[in-house]
Amino acid sequence: MNRLLIDIGSTYFKIAEQGKIEQYFRNFDKSILNDLESKCADVISSYNKDDVYICSSANGGLSTLIIGLSNSFSLKYAVNIAFNSGINIIDTVLYNNISNETPPKDNIDVVIIVGGINSVDNIFDEKIFEYLNNVNYQNIVFVGTEKSHNYLQNNIKDIVLLENIISDKLQIREDELKSYLTDLYQADIMGKEDIKQLYALTNNQIFSTPYIVNRALPKIHEHIDVADPFIVVDIGGATTDIHYSRDLVNDNILSSSGYDRLVFKKLGVYKSRESLVHIAKQNEFVFELLEHLNVTENILEEKSDEATRVLMQLSIFLVLYKVSKHHASYIELNLEILNNIILTGGITQVLTQEDVDNITLFFYKKILHFHHTPKIILDKNYEIWTYR
């Protein structure tokens, strides 16, 4: 059966039929639907609505702030559930350090608070209210010990109380939080007029692109030469996604799929260029890196093709850095045992093999003190999302 696959990105959209992929730059003066119809009306109209499949990363996803009692349980479980519900993580805060943390400035779609098994009491105190006073958020949900329900409900307006994600045996319990977040996510898509209109073209559910890519990973061997363990890095216009096989992480969570994903919201090269530059400037290695690429700091302010190239290289570096063991964030991948890195997304249209080899080698030398790097594969046709 023939299918038409459409991927809406923040800068491009791509149309795939029978292994053939066409890419189009988005025209931001038009709605997505109009844009699509003006560029490929013929193709689209030749398909039945049942055979059209659309995925989108254009809505950007939801941002989350997670406040949890410990790294190995509260935060890890909540982060895991959030990823699997298609949410983009923005920040995590360990409750023990909350007084020293500066609240994020951006608007947060949902704050998740978690801590303690159900029999534990008196975990939270005024510190959390003080902190939350300085956070802008739309939704707030508590998924920790039942004993704190009253206290939090009396002090935080509109807080949603769900089943504890930490079971009495310290196991992960994801159902309630997951369906809550998935609903929020769908509501977000439906709230975005642009995406909602696309249901004029398809009878199938519109998924987020990262979800589709993740689902395609077990099939990757049938199409390209890769050796497990590998990661797929999708650097797009607004976000950067990293998909990894689970043997790269050491966390003791049982998961049904062999692959997981992680999203960095503000590491895109077009739409979130400023925040990318900002993050880069804060990185202690960036000056050496620029020197290595033989460019000056000024390049970060430029708008040339050269600047875009450097920014893309920077984003590869930053992504690897953020998941390495030198950066204590919420996930640590064992990059030392990696065999392949597959790069996909807009970035593959700009960078050459040499560019990407160069930056990866810099990372491995500088950060891991390695002389070898995993083999880098550029998904030039941006076709991973079509594997099924």
Binding site: S70, S72, F73, S74, G116, V120, I166, K169, N252
Partner: protein
């Protein structure tokens, strides 16, 4: 009384761990068993999440030292209540060393009770005595 237990580090010897679970439960403890292959930070996090009274770590493959040496440092980053008991037992070193040598060493790492090649029920008897004495 709540006890967090498991086997530390890259150790996968699970048999004693299953028996400790059963035996603790029989003695009336509420058991949180993290199983084999558990890292020190996970143990401490579990104590925090469950508000446990005792942390009981096993190690059988001889790697205990490498994984537990930094207990003191790690402890200082947590907000434990005062009377949490830290306990370790099993086969604590590679090769053969006497308990006289091993016990003080592990105590200096921050453990209250140390059992090298001691039967688990004897160790648990000692734990109960210790709990009584510290009341």
């Amino acid at each position: 009384m709540k006890v967090v237990t498991g086997v530390v580090g890259n150790d996968i010897h699970v048999v004693a761990n299953r028996l400790i679970d059963i035996s603790l439960a029989e003695r009336g403890f509420e058991v949180f068993n993290l199983g084999v292959n558990t890292y020190l930070e996970e143990f401490l996090d579990a104590v925090i999440e469950t508000d446990a009274d005792v942390l009981l770590i096993s190690s059988l493959n001889g790697e205990a030292e490498g994984w537990c040496r930094d207990l003191q440092i790690l402890k200082s980053q947590y907000n434990f209540r005062d009377n949490v008991i830290f306990m370790i037992g099993g086969n604590l070193v590679v090769g053969e060393t006497t308990a006289e040598e091993i016990v003080p060493r592990f105590k200096s790492y921050g453990f209250d009770l140390v059992f090298h090649q001691v039967d688990l029920n004897e160790g648990l008897d000692q734990l109960e005595l210790f709990l009584k004495a510290s009341k």
